[in-house]
Symmetry: C2
Subunit: 364 residues, 2 copies
């Protein structure tokens, strides 16, 4: 609760001074004032370009020149103190280090925050509870404008108690039993987009390899898959969906089952599964997309774009998640209806899906 816990004392070794010790005391507004022969108030007024302040052209120039000359920089700390609240937005993430996803959330959040004059205070918890608590404490002590609480995969979450002390929005996660603001990907829509890529190319027997682990994505994408089929007038066949662990090994392991089903296309729960699937398919001498069309999910840059052939998939809107999160936090956007806003997952088509050749031959 108090800072003794969350911020330890510095342990800088005094015998090893920093490499480039900052010699000169930082220039303050006071010094600028003296240099320009005006009062601090005047300096403040020109620095902040106050609209209704009456400053003579001469004075303004003199101040500006002095500022340049002395290399003055406003002290945001002091500024924040007097204004009562800082221009910080906190972002606590559970897996910056282990996934590229968090990075995109950060990017989106930062871009949007900057637009509004805010700055990101980032904390990476790697799922560690105490670390998370400290991180939030630290942010609260810095009087952040609010906190973005984000998870690397879309899931329900508990809301840490400390969060309630400030404005916050859940990003890529949600709290089932609370009306906390949240922004998440629209899994149903994504599943539908993915399936539609296949449907549009004339595929009718489309498998879906779902994940074994329960998650909004598991249910949502399945629903989207079913929606797409229904819209296309294709009967849903439960035998065409099966589960596998959502990584390369899972995808690889699913091949055998898949081939029994006599399908022409498959929608994989994620890109990593698709990657494993590629392996299994190729090993059996099957070609993609000719013998099997495949679409993934996630659009993991390092992977999807560089598979052979490049993988058609559906992108998780991580950047947008971050951006929308801060808009929600600042009240720029307002949730329509439900407090959890869903963002679309845009399809990105590459070369792993071709026309259904079976269909072709049947309807020439």
């Amino acid at each position: 609760m108090t800072s003794e816990k969350s911020l330890k004392e510095p342990e800088v070794n005094p015998s090893h001074p920093p490499a480039t010790p900052r010699t000169s005391h930082p220039v303050t507004m006071r010094e600028v004032a003296e240099g320009a022969g005006v009062s601090v108030a005047t300096v403040s007024l020109v620095v902040n370009n106050k609209k209704d302040a009456r400053i003579g052209a001469g004075t303004r120039k003199r101040v500006l020149d002095t500022i340049r000359e002395l290399g003055y920089r406003p002290n945001a700390l002091a500024k924040n103190l007097v204004s009562g609240s800082s221009r910080f937005i906190g972002l606590v993430a559970d897996a910056i280090a282990t996934t590229p996803f968090a990075g995109q959330i950060i990017h989106g959040a930062q871009d949007e925050a900057w637009k509004h004059g805010f700055v990101l205070l980032v904390a990476n918890t790697e799922g560690d509870e105490p670390v998370e608590k400290d991180a939030i404490s630290m942010m609260l002590e810095h009087k952040v404008r609010g906190i973005l609480y984000s998870t690397w995969f879309h899931r329900p979450t508990e809301i840490p108690a400390a969060l309630q002390e400030t404005d916050f929005v859940l990003v890529n996660c949600f709290s089932p039993d609370s009306d906390a603001l949240a922004v998440v990907p629209d899994e149903v829509h994504g599943g539908r987009e993915a399936t539609d890529i296949l449907v549009r190319k004339g595929h009718r027997r489309i498998a879906f390899i779902n994940a074994t682990i329960p998650a909004p994505a598991k249910d949502g994408r399945l629903q989207g898959y079913r929606d797409a089929l229904e819209a296309a007038g294709i009967a849903f066949d439960p035998h065409l969906v099966f589960d596998a662990y959502p990584d390369q090994e899972g995808g690889y392991g699913a091949v055998e089952e898949l081939l029994k089903r006599d399908v022409t296309a498959v929608f994989c729960y994620n890109d990593r599964m698709a990657m494993g699937l590629y392996d299994g398919l190729k090993q059996r001498g099957l070609s993609i997309p000719d013998d099997m069309a495949v679409v993934g999910f996630d659009n993991q840059e390092v992977i999807a774009a560089h598979m052979r052939p490049p993988l058609s998939t559906v992108a998780l809107p991580h950047y947008e998640l971050g951006a929308a999160g801060v808009r929600l936090l600042l009240g720029v956007d307002e949730p329509a209806g439900s407090p959890v806003v869903k963002l679309e997952c845009p399809p990105v088509e590459r070369d792993s899906v071709g026309p259904n050749t079976l269909t072709r031959s049947r309807f020439p």
Copy 2:
């Protein structure tokens, strides 16, 4: 130079108040003091647990209780202001969004920073110059203790002018003509470790697929490769090293050339190349590691651990880079000799390398 540029005015829509408007004014030290019937000074002393402050047990308890009761949190802004310098460390990265690497640097930097009571102010520039300038300005205005300037791949870099206004250390990059502190991976050592994995398994004809693009990694890893060969008494054969673009396509494209060389093992410039190489090899019916041993470089988690077979590689010490950067910045570590400290790249062995069967049969 002034803040008008770097931080725009807020544009919060006043008609859409934040979702959970903070009602109560934040509790200040003053209120705690009143509540506990003591002076602010006293509260400050117990909050900060000052060693040489003489506070009666009763008073201390009373203050602590009041703090708990009122839910008081110290205001770090005020604290920083009076102490003159903040507990911020700035981290500007050029590619948080597009690579997982930056995430690990952040993680390492944060862990180390927290150990010393510092907090990370993160800015993602995605290589955009003006953004970078603003980011640094913003950090300077917040009176950061120093700045970590990091790049997502190891490379020489210019030092932005504004950086000179504070302490800074380059992370994963270096400035060729300056004595700026820097911390980078030891590419030579890495190249050597990678090659050694192969050498240890008895391979003698070892190819190296290097990158086409110039970089410290290109030269360093090649040197390491040569060092390893030399140490093993294997003559360096220039025909065994060739260049390719360092991604999956590059690796795939190199297969043909590779097979002409009659080698039993290959060291790829990075994991992505190895991934493409796998494809090419498999397509020709060759098996890994039996027909060809392969090692990569980078240890990209999403990829390396889940290839078929899992890829032996060498890890880039991104976490350590971040941590060491902070230590250098704070003066905890001191560079020995050169201002650019090099960190080891530890090998991580998986299943893509087997014993050299040719050697086996020749020396039974």
